[in-house]
């Protein structure tokens, strides 16, 4: 089934660098897709191309079966002809208009009657729970309120697609979390197709039906929050989403019953090696891998406790109590690893430990 929004082969260049380099994806109707990546990865440029604010060098953008950009045919629909709504990073609330006038603007552009505008604005302000602030001057509002005005303005015209450009990045941490739930609620309620750009992984995981991780103008991986976290396909994704330590290794053997279960050989500086059982997507014996270990996928044991299997030895380099957990940085012969354990666990710095690695979760990623 073709998506409601389709992007095909999108490329955009700034000077000599390709900000967006052959990006294709689609968004199903009513779903929210998050474009996630570090700054400069091309996510905002992709969004701006969809909105018609940038002209791509090649590619097509199709909304509901209709081309809005088709470089091969020199078709670039003007932004105002695309039927979209947008929440900008700076909210972009027009300072010379009241809240009502800000929200009414898209409707005025659609040449609706005065009465209809009044009703629809009221409706939209109710949705964002700003019902009684219509007469306020836009600049008198707090950051969170401005954010909601921007949202009301973006949905009031019943756009086909809603674009979010890092809408929460200017809010303080607490408000950001609150607005995250709020945005999600509204999107799920009015079932509008939305594309959401952010560099904040927590925001992305909370909001998106699906996530698209971008890096250096290309798509790294696409999937649900859960699959990106648990089954990263590249070390970039593993590192960008959540926290991970990486250990270089080589695949020694593959389980004959389960070809996703492998044994890898780690090698330290002295040439001594130890073995570890982990998972792998496409294993080939002898290939080099990076074993991805998330801090909570490791259990720490004292040196004298009797545990067997899948162990790496090391010494606690630093440890700090963080309330809900204690974080330890452990020196191993294969490099430093970050480990999270129960908040009350106590290991002293310099103490020798054994680390039990979860064979079902830790994953060997191919390296080139």
């Amino acid at each position: 089934m073709p998506g409601f929004v389709e992007v095909r082969g999108l490329r955009k260049r700034f000077g000599k660098t390709w900000a967006v380099d052959d990006v294709s994806f689609e968004v199903e109707e009513g779903k929210l897709l998050v474009l996630l990546g570090p700054s400069g990865c091309g996510k905002t440029t992709t969004l701006r191309c969809i909105g018609g604010l940038e002209q791509p060098e090649s590619g097509e953008i199709i909304i509901n079966g209709e081309h809005v950009t088709d470089v091969s045919k020199h078709l670039y629909l003007q932004p105002e002809a695309r039927g979209m709504g947008m929440v900008a990073q700076s909210y972009a609330i027009w300072p010379h208009m009241s809240v009502f006038e800000n929200v009414a603007f898209p409707l005025q552009m659609q040449k609706l009657s005065r009465q209809a505008i009044k009703e629809r604005v009221r409706e939209a302000l109710d949705v964002v729970r700003l019902g009684d602030l219509g007469n306020r001057n836009a600049t008198e509002l707090s950051g969170g309120q401005q954010q909601r005005v921007a949202l009301a303005r973006a949905i009031v015209g019943r756009p086909r697609v809603l674009l979010f450009d890092e809408p929460l990045s200017n809010l303080d941490a607490k408000l950001r979390e609150e607005m995250r739930y709020f945005l999600k609620d509204i999107q799920r309620k009015i079932k509008i197709t939305a594309i959401y750009v952010t560099h904040d992984q927590a925001e992305a995981m909370a909001l998106g039906h699906e996530l698209l991780v971008m890096n250096a103008g290309k798509i790294e991986q696409r999937g649900s929050a859960r699959s990106l976290y648990c089954e990263p396909e590249t070390s970039f994704v593993a590192n960008f989403i959540g926290v991970a330590s990486f250990i270089r290794a080589r695949i020694r053997s593959i389980d004959p019953d389960d070809n996703h279960s492998v044994v890898v050989e780690l090698e330290d500086a002295d040439g001594k090696s130890s073995l570890l059982r982990v998972r792998s997507q496409e294993a080939r014996i002898g290939s080099n891998v990076a074993v991805t270990i998330r801090p909570e996928w490791v259990t720490l044991h004292t040196i004298d406790s009797e545990v067997s299997g899948n162990l790496i030895g090391g010494a606690v380099h630093k440890s700090q109590f963080l309330g809900d957990r204690t974080e330890a940085i452990v020196d191993t012969k294969f490099g430093q690893m970050r480990v999270w354990m129960d908040g009350l666990a106590e290991f002293s710095e310099g103490e020798h430990v054994q680390m039990e690695v979860d064979a079902e979760r830790c994953i060997a990623l191919p390296v080139d």
Binding site: G51, G52, L53, Q55, Q78, P79, E80, R82, M84, G85, M86, A88, Q89, S90, Y91, A92, I93, W94, P95, H96, F105, P106, M109, Q110, T139, Q146, A150, R153, A154, G157, L163, S169, N170
Partner: protein, 561 residues
């Protein structure tokens, strides 16, 4: 013990800076209010008694009514014209990807560095009936003479005034547009507004306050200017209030009371302009709520890139290039025969103006001395005044800065004359310096104050805590940090003072002529020599401008006027 000793030291040091601030502020206030009072007094007094004679003669005067109407037409026309020119230029430079922006940005402010009087004289040479360079060419091409623009008409006055005052509009608007978050426009596009709707409903509306401030400034300047009304108006029979005041003050029989009454009227007109601006603005200041670090995205003009470039260049041609060329050409001729003739080529005009002709040499010296001294004093005053730390201090400063702006230039010259007519400084260069400083220190003040605002008090305070006295902290910490502001404030003030014409016309005497005044005195005599003289002034100003540009290229648009 130590505590109380420290306490005393801090207290006494604080007193020094408060004292310096208040002394300067009160002096500055007196320097404005005393002349203002003297001229109001003059307007209502005759023969030592209260009288409305000046006003009644004004009402009965056969032409003053028409002159007031002309003034209003001239001022509002020039205000609109300056906006129509300056705002598009600002928008092109600030928001589009027009080619050669760096050059265009400089070209758009150059007219500021050329006296409008000089510009008007140059255009007179170009457009004068029969002998004008442009008129001749047009006539040769068969252009019907009745359709030739009349350089002495009120329309020409308005157009030329608009051209030379549009940089003010440009500077106000460009700064404001540049501060605007481009997302404000983009979001409008996304939500259904076309490019023109966006320009009108978003860009121009948001920058409305800045536009209005610029317009009010041009309006007040124009109400009080003598430059174009003297250069073109008198010859065309178009008197305005400022030329009438000047005539009443300088021609026999003088009527000082009526002149003062007209001055009061001019201040009222200017005040009305300011009042209307405040009414429209109310308390609104569209401080754009900007996100952190948005990129300044420019509008892609596509096929309009070069037409936009051409537009800016043609403005520069009309305002700067053509006038300068004609003045240089005329200056290089033995006498002006309506066109450049190789056989009349000579450097004598430049030589005589610079080295032989006593009056011009004296005027150049007078200008340099008076403007250098006045700019320096104005900068020092501004540094002292920018220390205002209390609310009361800032309110007083607001008034001090507003007053000289609100008083039209010619009226200000008259006021200073009234204030000092019976003192020893009358007839000296000091009275001109006084008018320069008091009339224009707000230029220096605004620049320095805006830099001062960006310097944290803590920097100075920590110097004090580490043992520096107030004077040490000021000279070692504050001055160096203010230095960029000081340079640009000084240069800016200097340039404006060298051009200044309207107020000095009331204050010069034989021997204290400055350059701009001498232009007027030589106006009807030797046009080739006058042209050479004007070229020399313009060259001085352009050199100063180049230095200015060097020192503050990165923030040309922040020079506040």
């Amino acid at each position: 013990m130590i505590d109380s000793w420290l306490g005393r030291r801090v207290a006494s040091n604080l007193r020094v800076e408060t004292l310096v601030y208040w002394a300067t502020a009160i002096l500055a206030a007196l320097a404005i209010l005393y002349p203002a009072w003297m001229s109001v007094h003059a307007a209502f007094t005759e023969g030592g008694n209260f009288s409305l004679g000046g006003f009644s003669r004004m009402m009965q005067h056969p032409s003053v009514g028409k002159e007031i109407a002309t003034t209003l037409l001239f001022a509002s026309g020039a205000t609109l014209g300056a906006a129509v020119i300056g705002v598009p230029l600002a928008w092109i430079n600030a928001r589009t990807d027009v080619p050669g922006r760096r050059l265009l940005e400089i070209l758009c402010v150059i007219p500021l560095f050329i006296s409008a009087f000089v510009g008007a004289m140059a255009w007179r040479l170009l457009l004068v009936p029969r002998a004008g360079m442009v008129t001749r060419v047009l006539t040769d091409w068969g252009w019907p003479p009745e359709l030739l623009p009349d350089v002495y008409s009120i329309t020409s006055m308005i157009v030329i005034q608009s051209i030379f005052y549009s940089p003010f509009m440009y500077l106000y608007t460009v700064a404001s547009i540049r501060q605007m978050d481009p997302s404000l426009e983009e979001v409008a596009r996304i939500h259904g507004a076309g490019p023109w709707q966006t320009l009108w409903r978003i860009t121009l509306s948001i920058n409305g306050p800045a536009l209005l401030s610029g317009m009010v400034l041009v309006f007040v300047f124009t109400v009080g200017t003598l430059e174009i009304p003297m250069a073109l108006g008198i010859a065309g029979g178009n008197y305005v209030i400022s030329t009438r005041i000047w005539t009443l003050m300088s021609d026999y029989p003088q009527d000082l009371t009526m002149a003062a009454s007209l001055g009061v009227l001019a201040v009222l007109i200017a005040g009305t302009g300011i009042w209307i601006q405040r009414r429209i603005l109310g308390n609104r200041k569209f401080t754009t709520v900007s996100g952190k670090g948005y990129r300044a995205r420019r509008i892609k003009l596509g096929k309009w890139r070069w037409p936009a470039f051409g537009l800016v260049i043609s403005y520069a041609t009309i305002a700067v290039i053509a006038p300068l060329i004609v003045l240089v050409l005329v200056g290089l001729q033995k006498y002006w025969a309506g066109a450049f003739r190789l056989e009349l080529f000579t450097l004598d005009n430049f030589r005589s103006v610079l080295f032989e002709y006593d009056v011009t040499r004296r005027a150049i010296a007078n200008s340099l001395i008076a403007c250098t001294a006045a700019a320096t004093i104005a900068v020092f005053m501004s540094i002292m005044l920018s220390q205002a730390k209390s609310r009361r201090g800032e309110a007083l400063m607001g008034l001090l800065v507003l007053l000289p702006i609100a008083i039209p230039g010619a009226v200000f010259g008259m006021m200073v004359l009234f204030a000092f007519v019976r003192t020893p400084i009358y007839n000296t260069l000091y009275i001109i310096m006084f008018a320069y400083v008091i009339g224009y220190f707000y230029l220096a003040y605004r620049t320095i104050y805006s830099v001062r605002l960006s310097i944290h008090d803590e920097l100075e305070q920590s110097a004090r805590i580490h043992g520096a006295t107030w004077w040490k902290a000021t000279t070692r910490i504050l001055f160096p940090l203010l230095r960029p502001g000081i340079y640009s404030a000084w240069l800016m003030t200097f340039v404006v003072l060298v051009r200044e014409f309207s107020s000095v016309m009331f204050l010069y005497r034989n021997g204290t002529e400055v350059m701009s005044v001498l232009f007027f005195l030589l106006m009807e005599r030797h046009s080739a020599r006058l042209a050479a003289f004007m070229v020399i002034q313009t060259v001085i100003l352009l050199i100063v401008m180049l230095i200015f540009q060097r020192l503050s290229y990165r923030n040309t648009d922040t020079m506040t006027i």
